[in-house]
C-alpha cells in the first residue's frame, strides 16, 4: 500500500502514479525488448502470437469489458483485417498504406455491425454478431477470386530496409511496438470522456443518456474502435501465419477471444495481457497434456474446446474478476500481510436489473 501526495490534478491523470510503477513497467519493457536475444525462433514466434492475441484482446475488452456489449463474432473482424491487408498487398499496395486501410475498413464494418446494436439489448447483439461471423465466413469461403476460397491465399511478405516481416524476430519487435502503442491508446481513451462514456453505457444506459451521452454514437464508436484493434491484430496475424485460410477464423477463435477477456479479467487492460498469455499458451499446455495422459483421455475429440469451456465456467463461477483480479488480491495480501482481511475483496453482488418491461 502506498500513498501518493498529489499536489496537482495532472498527477491524478497520469498513467503511472508514482516512480515505483514507472520502474516496474520500464523493467518489463526492457525484458520484452531483450527477450528475443535469449530465445530461439520458435519461442519468439509463440510470443508474437501472444502479442497478436493481446492486440485483438484490447479490442474485445473495450467492447465487452468496458461498454458491456457482447460480441460472439470477433473472429470475423480478425479475418476482415487479415484478408483485406493480404489482398491489398497482393495488388502491390505498399505495406504502409495497406495496413491502415485494412484497419480503417475493419473499423467501418464494425461501425456498421454496431448499428443494429443501437436498438437492441445485449442479448440480440450477441446473436447478431454470431450471425455476422457466419456470413463473413461464408463470403470468405465462396469469394474465390479474391480470397482463394477454401484453398486459402498466401500473404505477400514485403521488405523494408532489408527486413522482412516473415522473419519472426522482425515481426516480434513490430508486434511488440504495435501492442505497446495499442495499450497506450486504449489507456488514454479510458481516462478520457469517451472511455468513460463506454463505462456509462455499460452500467446504466438510461442514466448515461440523461448525463448527455449520445447512446447511438457511443456504441457505434465502441464497435468501430473494437473492430479497428481486432483488424490490426488481423494484419499482424496475416504476417505471422503467412497463409490465410478460412479455418484460421472460426467460432472457436471468437470464443478464444472471449476466454481471453474473461480469464484476464473483465474491465482491465492488465487483464488483456494476462489473458493473452493464457490463451496463447493454453493450446501448448493441452497438447503437452495429451501426450502425458492415457490415450483414451488424450484422444477425445474436442478435448481442447472442452478444456476451454471448463476453464471459462470455472472462472465465471469462482473468479469473475479473472487473473488480474486474483493478482490484485495476492498483491494486497502481500502488502497488508498480517492484517489482510478476506472481506476486502468480497464480491459485490449486484442484483439483476432488468432491461425489460413485461
Amino acid at each position: 500500500m502506498r500513498f501518493v501526495l498529489t499536489t496537482h490534478y495532472g498527477q491524478d491523470v497520469n498513467l503511472f502514479r508514482h516512480n515505483g510503477q514507472r520502474f516496474w513497467y520500464a523493467l518489463l519493457a526492457v525484458g520484452a525488448v531483450a527477450a528475443p536475444l535469449f530465445l530461439n525462433a520458435f519461442y519468439v514466434g509463440e510470443l508474437v502470437l501472444v502479442f497478436i492475441w493481446a492486440v485483438a484482446g484490447i479490442g474485445l475488452m473495450l467492447l465487452v469489458g468496458y461498454t458491456g456489449l457482447v460480441s460472439l463474432g470477433h473472429a470475423a473482424f480478425l479475418a476482415i483485417g487479415a484478408y483485406c491487408h493480404a489482398v491489398l498487398l497482393g495488388y502491390g499496395v505498399p505495406f504502409a498504406l495497406s495496413a491502415p486501410i485494412a484497419v480503417a475498413f475493419t473499423a467501418l464494418v464494425g461501425a456498421l455491425v454496431g448499428i443494429p446494436a443501437l436498438r437492441m439489448t445485449g442479448v440480440y447483439l450477441a446473436i447478431a454478431t454470431l450471425a455476422f461471423e457466419r456470413i463473413v465466413a461464408y463470403v470468405i469461403e465462396h469469394w474465390e477470386p479474391v480470397t482463394g476460397g477454401l484453398r486459402g491465399m498466401s500473404v505477400p511478405q514485403p521488405e523494408f530496409f532489408g527486413l522482412s516481416l516473415a522473419d519472426s524476430y522482425v515481426l516480434y519487435y513490430f508486434s511488440l511496438g504495435v501492442l505497446a502503442a495499442g495499450l497506450f491508446a486504449a489507456a488514454n481513451l479510458l481516462r478520457s470522456p469517451m472511455g468513460r462514456a463506454f463505462i456509462a453505457v455499460r452500467d446504466s444506459e438510461i442514466s448515461a443518456e440523461s448525463m448527455g451521452v449520445h447512446l447511438a454514437r457511443t456504441k457505434t464508436t465502441a464497435f468501430a474502435v473494437s473492430a479497428a484493434f481486432t483488424g490490426l491484430a488481423g494484419v499482424l496475424l496475416a504476417h505471422r501465419i503467412g497463409y490465410l485460410a478460412p479455418d484460421a477464423f472460426t467460432v472457436q477463435t471468437s470464443i478464444q477471444l472471449l476466454l481471453l477477456v474473461v480469464v484476464g479479467g473483465l474491465g482491465s487492460l492488465h487483464g488483456v495481457v494476462f489473458g493473452a498469455i493464457f490463451v496463447g499458451y493454453l493450446p501448448q499446455v493441452i497438447a503437452l497434456a495429451r501426450d502425458v495422459l492415457p490415450s483414451a483421455v488424450g484422444q477425445i475429440p474436442g478435448l481442447e474446446l472442452g478444456v476451454f469451456g471448463a476453464i471459462l465456467v470455472l472462472f465465471l463461477v469462482f473468479e469473475p474478476l479473472g487473473l488480474y483480479g486474483r493478482w490484485l488480491k495476492i498483491r494486497s495480501w502481500l502488502s497488508q500481510f498480517p492484517l489482510y482481511r478476506k472481506a476486502t475483496h468480497k464480491r459485490q453482488k449486484s442484483y439483476l436489473r432488468t432491461e425489460r418491461v413485461h
Binding site: S192, R196, A197, D203, Q348, S350, R353
Partner: protein, 327 residues
C-alpha cells in the same frame, strides 16, 4: 432559495398542457406549470399521481402525447434525450441509477460529459488538449465533492456505497454537468432523518451557492416546506394547485387527494414504516387464485428483479390500490 422580493424571477422552464397515457391509463393530463429561475420548485402528490412521469417527460425519456415544453424560451418538446443535459437540465433517479462498477470520481467525471470538447483521436493520443480538459474536469469534480462532503467515498466503487451516499453521489453527478435546472426525483426516499436534514442544507447550498434552479418530486413534507419556494400538487395525473408550501398544504383538494380517496396509502411520513413485504394479501392469493393475473398497475411491473434487495418502489403487493401509473 433566497429570492429577491418584488417581481417574480424570469421563467426558466415552462410546460403547457402536457398529456401522456400508457395504454388506457392517463398518467399525465393537461399539466401546465412554470419553473422560475433560481427557485426551488416541488411537485407533491400521492403515489401514482404522475410526478415522476413529468420528470421523464422533461428528460425526454417519453414523448408527450400532447403539449409543449420550453426551456429558456426555446421549445424543447422534441429534442433527443441526450441533448437535454446539453441544454442544461440534469436529474437524479428515484431508485438511483449510478454507474455501479465505476468509482464515485468516475461517476462525477461522466457527469461532465456534456463539456467534452476533445475528439477520439486527441483522446487516444492524450494530446495536451485532452490533458488540459481532464485536469479541468477533475478540478470541477473535486469542488462538487467538497460541496457535498464526498471525500471519503471518492475512490470507492459506486455499487458498494450505502444507499444514502448513493443518493448524494447522484446529486453530485448531476451537478457536475453545471446544469441550470436540476431535477431531483424523491431525493429523501430511503434516507434516515439525519441524512434528510443534511439534504435540506445541501439543497439550499446548491440553490444559493451554485445558483442552480431545482425542481423536485418529494414526499417528505418537512423537506418540501423547508426548502421550496413554490409547490405543485398533483393527483391522478392532473395538477390540483400551485402555490406557496403552506397554501398548497391547506388546499382542500390536496387534503382530499391524500386523505380521502387514497386511504393512508401514502401519507408522508408513513412511508418509512411501510413494510416491504406486507403479507396479508398473499394468503388469499396462494389458494389457487390466478397467479398470472395482470394488474393494470405499471408500478407492479417495476423491474422484476431476480433478487433485488433495494426498496422496490411500488412494492408489488403492499399498495395495490392506485391503479394509475407511477412512471
Amino acid at each position: 432559495m433566497i429570492l429577491p422580493a418584488g417581481e417574480p424571477a424570469p421563467t426558466l422552464f415552462e410546460a403547457r398542457d402536457l398529456s401522456l397515457s400508457f395504454g388506457g391509463v392517463k398518467a399525465v393530463r393537461d399539466v401546465s406549470f412554470e419553473i422560475r429561475r433560481g427557485e426551488v420548485f416541488s411537485i407533491i402528490g400521492p403515489n401514482g399521481a404522475g410526478k415522476t412521469t413529468i420528470f421523464n417527460l422533461i428528460n425526454r425519456i417519453y414523448d408527450a402525447d400532447a403539449g409543449t415544453m420550453s426551456f429558456n424560451g426555446e421549445d424543447m418538446s422534441r429534442v433527443p434525450g441526450h441533448r437535454v443535459a446539453e441544454l442544461g437540465i440534469t436529474r437524479t433517479f428515484q431508485n438511483t441509477e449510478l454507474f455501479d462498477r465505476a468509482t464515485v470520481l468516475e461517476n462525477l467525471l461522466i457527469g461532465r460529459h456534456v463539456h467534452r470538447r476533445t475528439n477520439l483521436v486527441a483522446e487516444c493520443l492524450f494530446l495536451p488538449s485532452a490533458r488540459r480538459q481532464e485536469v479541468a474536469f477533475r478540478s470541477y469534480a473535486e469542488q462538487i465533492i467538497d460541496l457535498l462532503d464526498l471525500q471519503a467515498s471518492r475512490d470507492q466503487m459506486a455499487g458498494a456505497l450505502p444507499y444514502g451516499t448513493r443518493k448524494v453521489v447522484e446529486i453530485a453527478r448531476a451537478l457536475c454537468a453545471e446544469p441550470q435546472l436540476l431535477l431531483l426525483d424523491e431525493p429523501s426516499s430511503g434516507l434516515n432523518p439525519e441524512e434528510s436534514e443534511d439534504l435540506a442544507f445541501w439543497i439550499e447550498d446548491i440553490s444559493a451557492d451554485l445558483g442552480v434552479t431545482i425542481a423536485m418530486v418529494e414526499h417528505d413534507m418537512n423537506l418540501v416546506t423547508t426548502v421550496s419556494n413554490r409547490v405543485m400538487a398533483m393527483a391522478d395525473g392532473a395538477a390540483i394547485t400551485t402555490g406557496t408550501p403552506s397554501d398548497v398544504q391547506n388546499h382542500p383538494e390536496v387534503l382530499r387527494a391524500y386523505l380521502g380517496d387514497f386511504e393512508g396509502s401514502d401519507v408522508p411520513g408513513e412511508r418509512e414504516g411501510a413494510p416491504l413485504a406486507r403479507k396479508e394479501p398473499s394468503a388469499g392469493e396462494r389458494e389457487g387464485e390466478p397467479l398470472a393475473r395482470k394488474e393494470p398497475s405499471a408500478g407492479e411491473r417495476e423491474g422484476a428483479p431476480l433478487a433485488r434487495k433495494e426498496q422496490c418502489e411500488g412494492e408489488p403487493l403492499a399498495n395495490k390500490e392506485p391503479p394509475t401509473v407511477e412512471h
